[in-house]
């Protein structure tokens, strides 16, 4: 092999090596580029899931609150009816007591 041929072979090898490194750099740049969009996708997806869960939590609480309120109102209506019924049975005695206070008691 002549000296020129040897140099040629080495130059070619250097070129090939440079190409390998250049390709690797391109691949690395591509990997870095993809990560941004991947992170953005992940963010959108995770936050959408969280927001959906959050909305479900609030809605569930609202429904629970409404159910509890309804139940409380029903119980309360019964309690008030009973209270008024008991009070009504004491009306006459109370009126009598008040009249006594006015007509007998001191100012």
């Amino acid at each position: 092999m002549s000296g020129i041929e040897t140099v040629q072979i080495i130059v070619n090898a250097e070129k090939q090596a440079a190409k390998i490194v250049q390709d690797a750099e391109a691949t690395a740049a591509n990997i870095r580029k993809k990560i941004d969009s991947l992170i953005q996708e992940q963010r959108t997806e995770m936050l959408a899931t969280a927001k959906k869960e959050a909305a479900a939590l609030v809605q569930q609480a609202e429904e629970e609150g409404k159910r509890e309120a309804e139940s409380y109102e029903k119980e309360s209506a019964v309690r008030i009816r009973e209270l008024i019924a008991r009070a009504s049975s004491k009306k006459s005695a109370t009126v009598e007591k008040l009249v006594d206070m006015v007509t007998q008691g001191e100012k």
Binding site: I9, L47, A54, I84, A87
Partner: protein
């Protein structure tokens, strides 16, 4: 045997391949780190959203039940007020009706006058009655009963001007500067807060 040139070119390519591997490995490690950091940060954001939603949910639930409690309290108060007003109106009517019963009213009127005299502390007094009482009340009897009740002589003058009241008296000093108003209407109005408390206790045990 491998020639020197071949060995040299092989080394060049080997070094390039190694460098390429490092470049790509570094990029992958870097993106992996970025991905992990992003995941942690996004997870925190998502947790914040859920935490905030839990607080909102609690508030929403509390608001619903608290509104129901408030509504119920108002309803209860309204119903109680109806009964109290009814009882108070009825009591007022009956209290004013005492004027229709001569045997009850006359001693009651005497008590009202006595009470006013004690408050005034004077020995000469002017008594004011409404038009109906001016004609039907036996003044001599009232004066006698008052003197008996107070156990001291009192000079009583009777006003010729009728007062506007359902019953009861206004007792004043002769110059009219000091007056004790013991009319039934006034008495009832003055006692209303006490009567309401008593009615509340009696009707609702409060």
């Amino acid at each position: 045997m491998m020639s020197e040139t071949s060995k040299f070119t092989e080394d060049i390519l080997k070094a390039a391949t190694e460098k390429a591997g490092n470049i790509i490995g570094e990029a992958e490690a870097e993106t992996q780190r970025a991905s992990n950091e992003a995941k942690t940060s996004i997870s925190r954001e998502a947790e914040d959203i859920i935490r905030s939603a839990r607080a909102d949910a609690e508030a929403v639930k509390r608001r619903e039940t608290s509104e129901a409690r408030h509504k119920s309290k108002l309803h209860e108060q309204k119903e109680k007020d109806i009964v109290m007003t009814e009882v108070l109106d009825h009591a007022k009517k009956l209290a004013l009706d005492v004027t229709k019963n001569e045997s009850k009213y006359s001693p009651y009127l005497t008590t009202l006058v006595e009470s006013a005299i004690r408050q005034l502390g004077d020995e000469t007094l002017l008594i004011h009655l409404n038009k109906a009482d001016m004609t039907r009340i036996n003044r001599a009897n009232v004066e006698r009963d008052i003197a008996k009740g107070l156990q001291k002589p009192i000079k009583i003058e009777w006003s010729k001007e009728p007062i506007e009241a359902a019953g009861g008296v206004i007792v004043s000093t002769p110059d009219g500067k000091t007056r004790i108003v013991n009319t039934l209407d006034e008495r009832f109005d003055a006692m209303e807060p006490k009567l309401l408390i008593e009615a509340g206790k009696s009707l609702f045990g409060q």
